[in-house]
Symmetry: C2
Subunit: 223 residues, 2 copies
């Protein structure tokens, strides 16, 4: 099956305290999103890439695409209000009958192994959702004044790339938006599809806070 | 109230793939446990410290204590089979009517601010448990084939230092060991006491895997 990846970079960036959205911040001399894209190109030089970006930052993207010679490989769609809208926009240009991975632009340390396992698992089972176990005790606030312990061996911290059969994912994205659609797994599941999980790796961090950028820099330098 | 801290270093270390347990591994030229102890001494030079160590590694500790001039400040007790037994051993030498923080030796990046807030909160409310929010979607495996989403805004990743009124914590540790006693909060709560939570910081990482050691090194260098 043909392979696609949607690089979700819809954020306009405020939590990092920077004007530049975090996917464009430099990480060891290259913008974060370029590292992320490169990992998928190393996995499969023929993979078809869709970058979903804020329209506001399209000029910035054009400069980067020129600099890093990415025009041939990469289609661009504009991000929407919510992550849900952004992915939905991107899926419009993905054909049926393919495999499509949805990946956060701000997870540049994703390993080739994890990408490969996500595609392989999805090809076989329809979906593939990477997770890691928490490294500490975990509790859950039921908002009735009770913050109760959870069995940490049963807690799954969810990551990307989440990969799916494109026909069914596109169908799932025809649903109306719901507040608990925090990732593609939730959208897929709500449409009545089965999820398949696999163990990802802890290095596949999401760059959200300034400290995450520092950690990513260290990891990139010590790969 | 007098302040005590138990530095829990019971682990004999296997997950790191090293013969030396992780609390003794070097981190920017000093063993991890020395960084951890120093943070508490910076917070309060008069704090009374109990290090709970594997008996097997006591010779290693003696060498360190001499090198870093720690004999005056620090009492040593030996670790038990479980973390529960280790803390219980340490509490035997803590007086009633004090405040006692229990802290993982392998969390050397703990900030002075978090230590201060833990003691202050516990003095007022009896207990103080630091937590952080997860940075990603979270699910829970109910082991009936259902891995259901949790509202991530209600999930609490629990950290240390967990601080308590010593009299009541010592009472709580008279209970028999249970498998779900993964931290002191669980022991305290099971004895019928109320838990008070406060927001810690994401930099207060627990060094479990080799990658965590790399991250800690980076954080120490960029403090």
């Amino acid at each position: 099956m043909d392979r696609y990846v949607v690089i979700v970079a819809g954020g306009i960036g405020s939590r990092m305290g920077e004007e530049i959205p975090k996917q464009f911040l430099p990480l060891h001399n290259k913008p974060i999103i370029i590292h992320t894209i490169n990992q998928f190109l190393i996995f499969d030089p023929d993979i078809q890439i869709v970058a979903a970006l804020p329209e506001l930052h399209f000029p910035r993207w054009k400069t980067l695409a020129k600099k890093y010679n990415l025009f041939e490989n990469i289609a661009v769609v504009f991000g929407g209000q919510q992550r849900f809208d952004t992915v939905k926009n991107a899926l419009k240009i993905i054909p049926d009958g393919a495999l499509v991975a949805i990946h956060d632009a701000v997870r540049p340390i994703v390993s080739i192994k994890t990408i490969a396992q996500s595609f392989k698992t999805a090809e076989k089972f329809g979906s593939a959702i990477p997770y890691v176990l928490p490294g500490a005790s975990v509790r859950f606030d039921d908002e009735n004044g009770n913050i109760a312990p959870l069995d940490r061996n049963k807690v799954r911290i969810i990551q990307t790339p989440q990969t799916f059969h494109s026909t069914k994912l596109k169908e799932a994205y025809l649903q109306s938006y719901q507040e608990n659609f925090t990732d593609d797994a939730a959208v897929w599941e709500k449409a009545g599809n089965k999820l398949t999980f696999f163990e990802g790796d802890t290095e596949n961090i999401k760059i959200t806070l300034p400290i995450d950028l520092k950690i990513a820099e260290y990891l990139i330098l010590h790969e």
